[in-house]
């Protein structure tokens, strides 16, 4: 199931980001290597919201960071608006990165506790000399108001004085300060209460619509990304399992892992508690991934073929690509 391939890559002039054969490995010692991302390819079209979904340890965070060259991948290409970021000299990379901003999982620890909200949002503007102090001040107010904060009340306060949801709003304002064209949101709502999750997802949707952003939304929860995504990519142990538009993926998942993820989401209705077969165990170590299909050790449909041959992504219905020898049809 989890496999390689490029069948899902689109040949469009609107592609803003192309990631090709990306490999990220971390060497722990002489013969211990964590294979976090293993030859992964995908693209993002202008204005698209791509959701990347998978369990802890599947490489989704590493993938998001590798796009920003944090750290640079071991091999592969990351082409953003025609420029391969992996080949850029350091100074050019810094300025190229202003167009791609990141939002992190823990909103409180990702903001410097010693800075006021004004300083936090001014920092990128000042570094990149976007206007004089007066102009920047106007911009800061505008950004804060856009993310639903009352700028007059929050400017001189510190991150610790705010709740998690408000800190995430501040992070979003800061990320938008330099007019990015792409946001990479790494589990932006996992640390928040359900009641606040909806607020932040709606805010990201609004910012997407207002600024025409492309968004990569990383999450472990398929329910969270359903409302916002245009395309969903399911990852397992550094490989892609399935890529499809949400209309298809949620209704007719073709990969056994996608179906297992869907079945894990709790249903807030006591009369509809399906006790379907749960995914047992945990993913194997990325230091020593299974041969063939990486998901086979937890898959009910696994056969001998799955141990021998790695499945390649192929189109099983229009727009739906799956890397599985025995897809659910």
């Amino acid at each position: 199931m989890a496999g390689s391939g490029i069948a899902h890559m689109r040949n469009s002039t609107d592609v803003v980001l192309t990631v090709r054969d990306l490999v990220v490995e971390f060497r722990l010692s002489k013969d211990r290597v964590v294979k976090a991302v293993s030859g992964l390819s995908f693209d993002v079209i202008k204005g698209e919201v791509l959701a990347i979904v998978g369990e802890s340890g599947c490489g989704k965070t590493t993938l998001g960071r590798a796009i920003l060259q944090l750290p640079p991948p071991n091999s592969g290409e990351v082409i953003f608006e025609g420029t391969d970021l992996t080949q850029l000299p350091k100074d050019n990379l810094r300025s190229a990165r202003t167009a791609i901003q990141m939002i992190f999982q823990d909103p409180i620890s990702s903001l410097d506790p010693r800075m006021t909200v004004k300083q936090l949002i001014d920092e990128p503007l000042e570094i990149w000399q976007r206007g004089d102090e007066q102009e920047r001040s106007v911009r800061i107010n505008e950004l804060l108001n856009n993310v639903g904060l009352d700028s007059e009340l929050v400017l001189d306060r510190h991150a610790y004085e705010f709740s998690g949801g408000q800190c995430q709003r501040i992070s979003i304002a800061r990320a938008l300060a330099l007019d990015p064209r792409m946001l990479i949101c790494d589990e932006p709502v996992s640390a928040l209460d359900v009641s606040i999750q909806a607020q932040i997802i709606n805010l990201l949707q609004d910012m997407h619509d207002r600024y025409g952003l492309s968004i990569i939304f990383i999450s472990h929860d398929l329910a969270v990304v359903k409302a916002i995504s245009n395309r969903v990519m399911v990852m397992y142990l550094g490989k892609i399992c399935e890529v499809a538009p949400p209309e298809i993926l949620y209704a007719k998942p073709a990969h056994h892992y996608t179906r297992a993820l869907l079945n894990s989401v709790p249903i807030p209705d006591p009369t509809r508690q399906t006790r379907t077969e749960l995914l047992q165990g945990e993913p194997p170590s990325p230091m020593n991934p299974p041969t063939g299909c990486r998901f086979r050790t937890r898959c009910a449909a696994a056969s001998v073929l799955c141990t021998q041959q790695e499945p390649q992504l192929r189109e099983v219905s229009p727009g739906q690509f799956v890397a599985c020898h025995h897809p659910i049809i």
Partner: protein, 325 residues
């Protein structure tokens, strides 16, 4: 009802530099043996303070507590801390949100499980280790023998939570407090842990208080649900009744805001605007009124008291859902 835990008119407040923080207000809850009760609310609604107070854990000099907590015939609120402690493990046990920090990082798993067996049940070290092995198997940890020798950092979050559960059930408690037991975990592991808790409760017949912010988690795992807001219980009903016929606008808003797997693609989520009121300034009127889409003038002026439907369904609202204005 033959109650195992009975909380009567419990109030907990803390002295803070900003004034008196009223964390729990006028809470009454009865829990019978073997029953599973969910306590649901947002961060800051008082659900964790309530469960800690119910365990008699809040005794600092800045804590003000009134009301009574009776557990299994013993009034915890009248006891000294060592006496309360004597009920831990065999009477009640707790599992926490963060399995990373709840375990001792420098002791082996076997020693951590054995500890309560030796201390509470007076087992020998050898017997305790043998029992620890059985407990790890009971919580479905594969390769339990080698896990006994491991340290917490060598285990995943889900495995650590299983170890926490093994420790909690080691002395056959009558009541298990589970405070956001799956919030820090992946959805797949969350589903496994909830299934494990269900099975253990059936096998061991223990009661459970499941504290969570997610109505999705209580739906399949509890008999009753108490919804908390701003320190108060605002709705209390059997779980099936609560979901079928909710009366409290807050509960409805909380349910609507959950990102659901059957939510139409691309449809905007219904968020609850605003946030919890300042706990040091309770003001007048219904605490939820500023965020409520049904609020009337009366809601801003008077505080609603708990009303009871004939079937025992409790709610704290002047204009409950399902009643014409």
């Amino acid at each position: 009802m033959n109650s195992l835990l009975s909380i009567k008119d419990l109030n907990v407040s803390f002295d803070t530099p900003r004034g008196m923080l009223e964390a729990v207000r006028n809470v009454d809850i009865e829990i019978a043996a073997g029953m599973s009760v969910g306590i649901v609310g947002e961060s800051g609604s008082g659900k964790t303070v309530l469960s800690r107070a119910a365990m008699g854990l809040l005794q600092g000099s800045n804590v003000h507590r009134t009301g009574t907590v009776v557990f299994d015939g013993h009034e915890l609120t009248a006891m000294t801390r060592p006496d309360v402690r004597s009920h831990f493990g065999t009477g009640m046990a707790m599992i926490f949100q963060d399995p990373m920090t709840a375990l001792n990082p420098v002791r082996r798993i076997g020693a951590q499980i054995s500890e309560s067996l030796i201390f509470r049940l007076g087992m020998s070290k050898k017997d305790a280790l043998k029992r620890s092995f059985e407990l790890l198997q009971l919580v479905r940890i594969p390769d339990a023998k080698s896990v006994l020798r491991k340290f917490p950092y060598q285990l995943s979050g889900g495995m650590r939570q299983r170890v926490m559960i093994a420790i909690a059930i080691s002395c056959n408690p009558k009541l298990l407090f589970a405070d956001e037991p799956t919030t820090a975990l992946d959805v797949t592991v969350q589903a496994q842990i909830l299934q494990l808790l269900r099975e253990l409760r059936e096998d061991l017949g223990m009661a459970m208080i499941l504290v969570t912010h997610d109505l999705g988690v209580v739906a399949g795992n509890t008999d009753y649900v108490a919804v908390m807001y701003a320190g108060q219980v605002v709705e209390f009903a059997p779980t099936t009744k609560l979901f079928a016929d909710m009366r409290m606008p807050y509960t409805e808003a909380l349910l609507e805001s959950i990102p659901k797997i059957d939510h139409p693609v691309g449809k905007r989520l219904l968020a609850i605007a605003g946030r919890l009121p300042d706990p040091t300034d309770r003001g007048s009127g219904c605490s939820f009124a500023p965020r409520c889409k049904y609020f009337q003038n009366k809601c801003l002026e008077e505080s609603p008291t708990l009303k009871t439907d004939p079937d025992g369904h409790l709610y704290r609202c002047f204009f409950p859902i399902g009643e014409a204005l």
